[in-house]
């Protein structure tokens, strides 16, 4: 990442150079995200495709421009901006206005990363910083969901690949027409643009677990298909490019905490399976919380971090005012990382604990 220009480079041992560099890891994360992205485009059509292209493009461009402004070599080639752009697109609703997506991308890279000194220095996941900004800035647009396979609601229809959802193309700085009013003429039975999570929160209606697992529901562009997210995550774990403890701790603690709620009152609380496969929990656990920069470095710390994120997500979902809590839980986890790292430093071999006397 940092390029030294010293005449003589003096380093302490070990002098082993691994084959795995930042670039290869990042490139593999991009590979792991591709199936999810492709499926999202398949389900939500042209609008989702444009969203992915726009956020990724803006993120890369912003990174390049900011590097030039800071008179540093451009870091575009390490693929981290591509990942930020992809992740941001996957967390936004499929019909999100493109001009807002551009704002979010600039915030992600500018405020979330470059301001702290670039890759490796950012305390928070850049994509989530951008999304949190958009959530606070445009609360209506970010909770307007296009249903899966809209407009014909059939898997093998092709209209979604040739037409664009109206909000996507709303003029810069202008209000997107709401999806609901746009499709009034078509009348879709019982459609109110609700995600499985908001239906659970406000109406206590569950969605079939199969649909959730495969991804045939409304929701953010890339959060719907748990199956493909797990596939990407397992690929990274198998190549040892992701700390498997983080997703395991998050998903495990989310299961346990929601299991307790479900056991207490199965009428108003959803099943642990629903909690696991709905919303952004799976995507967040696999690709955002496990971001190497914002997560702790010690094995014990990683468990604490994961359990914190998993349980906070469930508590926000079930007890808070919002239907979804993954984003805030991960940002909170990122914020706690320095503290967790500090408290869980392993003891140096042979050294005594503080206060321990012979």
């Amino acid at each position: 990442m940092s390029v030294g220009t010293h005449a003589i480079d003096i380093r302490t041992s070990p002098h082993i150079k691994g084959r795995v560099t930042t670039d290869t890891i990042m490139l593999n994360v991009v590979y792991a995200l591709l199936p999810v992205t492709a499926f999202a485009v398949f389900v939500f059509g042209l609008s989702a495709f444009l969203l992915v292209i726009v956020t990724t493009g803006t993120c890369v461009l912003t990174e390049h421009v900011l590097c030039k402004l800071a008179r540093k070599p451009s870091t575009v080639s390490d693929y981290s901006a591509v990942i930020t752009g992809l992740l941001l697109a996957l967390t936004l609703p499929p019909g999100f206005p493109l001009w807002m997506a551009i704002v979010g991308s600039v915030i992600s890279i500018g405020l979330g990363k470059a301001l702290f000194g670039g890759l490796g220095m950012n305390p928070f996941n850049p994509a989530l910083v951008g999304r949190a900004f958009l959530q606070a800035a445009f609360p209506v647009a970010i909770t307007t969901w296009t249903p899966a396979f809209w407009p014909e609601m059939q898997i093998w229809s092709t209209e979604r690949f040739t037409s664009i959802v109206l909000p996507t193309v709303s003029l810069p700085f202008m209000r997107p027409e709401s999806v609901a009013s746009f499709i009034n003429g078509i009348t879709i039975d019982g459609f109110s643009g609700a995600t499985p999570l908001s239906r659970m929160k406000f109406d206590h209606e569950t969605t079939s677990i199969i649909d959730l697992f495969v991804g045939m529901t409304a929701g953010s562009t890339g959060e719907t298909s748990s199956a493909l997210i797990i596939l990407g995550g397992v690929y990274l774990m198998a190549r040892r490019m992701m700390n498997w403890r983080i997703p395991v701790a998050i998903l495990g603690s989310a299961t346990v905490v929601s299991g307790i709620f479900y056991a207490l009152n199965s009428e108003i609380y959803p099943t642990p399976l629903f909690v696991l496969f709905s919303g952004g929990l799976m995507l967040g656990a696999m690709f955002m919380a496990s971001d190497m920069v914002g997560s702790p470095t010690t094995p014990l710390g990683v468990w604490i971090y994961g359990i914190l994120i998993g349980s906070v997500t469930v508590v926000i979902r079930l007890k808070g005012g919002l239907p979804e809590g993954t984003m805030y839980a991960i940002l909170l986890g990122n914020a706690c990382t320095p503290l967790i790292d500090n408290l869980t430093q392993p003891r140096i071999f042979g050294a005594r604990k503080k206060g321990e006397r012979k």
């Binding site: 900004f133 800035a137 202008m174």
Partner: protein
């Protein structure tokens, strides 16, 4: 006070620009962040603070030769809180909506460090005339800063300026600028702009000085 003290104009301009309480001294951040979500609130807060600042500076300067050193802070606080209470009554009598919007922050003017700061650092050592001048400079500087924040936040956050719509009915407001987090973003952006501008000026000034030296040698 020696004759060599700063000129009247420079006392006034000091608070307005060179030592702007918000952009340079970064004092009194609580109202700066909390009540600048609209131009109206920003102006009301700026004027209230300026009133308290001018009146208390006057009174502090008047009694500066009588008050013993040991009890001076207690006396200043007494004087400042008196004028804050007066502002509180007056705003309530003039407009309840403004009073509600400013909420507890009127009462909190009393702990605004700018006011006690100027009382201790300036009014207690200078003549009444100079103190009033200084208080006006600081007050206008503070109001100006609040207005800068209020304008950005209202224009982006609501698409209006002083309640007048600017961009037509389809403008999408950036709600975040009405929320506290937007206050931090806006303040950060203004501070950045201010220091960029100052840096550029100092660089120009040093270049000019170097140039002059070269010519002289």
């Amino acid at each position: 006070m020696s004759k060599a003290g700063p000129s009247q104009a420079s006392i006034f301009l000091n608070g307005l620009w060179k030592e702007n309480p918000v952009f340079v001294q970064v004092l009194g951040m609580c109202p700066v962040l909390a009540v600048t979500n609209s131009v109206r609130n920003a102006i009301a807060m700026g004027l209230s603070t300026m009133f308290v600042l001018v009146m208390s500076s006057t009174l502090v300067s008047l009694v500066r030769n009588i008050v013993p050193k040991q009890v001076r802070i207690a006396t200043y606080i007494l004087i400042i809180s008196t004028f804050v209470t007066i502002v509180d009554y007056v705003i309530k009598a003039v407009s309840i909506p403004v009073y509600k919007a400013l909420g507890p922050f009127i009462a909190l003017i009393v702990v605004n460090c700018i006011i006690l700061g100027r009382a201790e650092a300036f009014a207690s050592k200078n003549s009444v005339y100079r103190s009033i001048l200084d208080a006006f400079g600081m007050g206008i500087g503070f109001s100006f800063a609040l207005l800068c924040l209020g304008a950005v936040r209202e224009i982006l956050g609501a698409g209006t300026f002083l309640g007048v719509p600017l961009f037509g009915p389809y403008f999408e407001p950036w709600i975040i600028f009405l929320l506290p987090s937007g206050g931090f973003f806006t303040l950060g952006a203004w501070l950045l702009a201010f220091s960029l501008w100052k840096e550029r000026r100092t660089r120009k000034a040093t270049l000019a000085a170097e140039h002059a030296q070269e010519l002289a040698s």
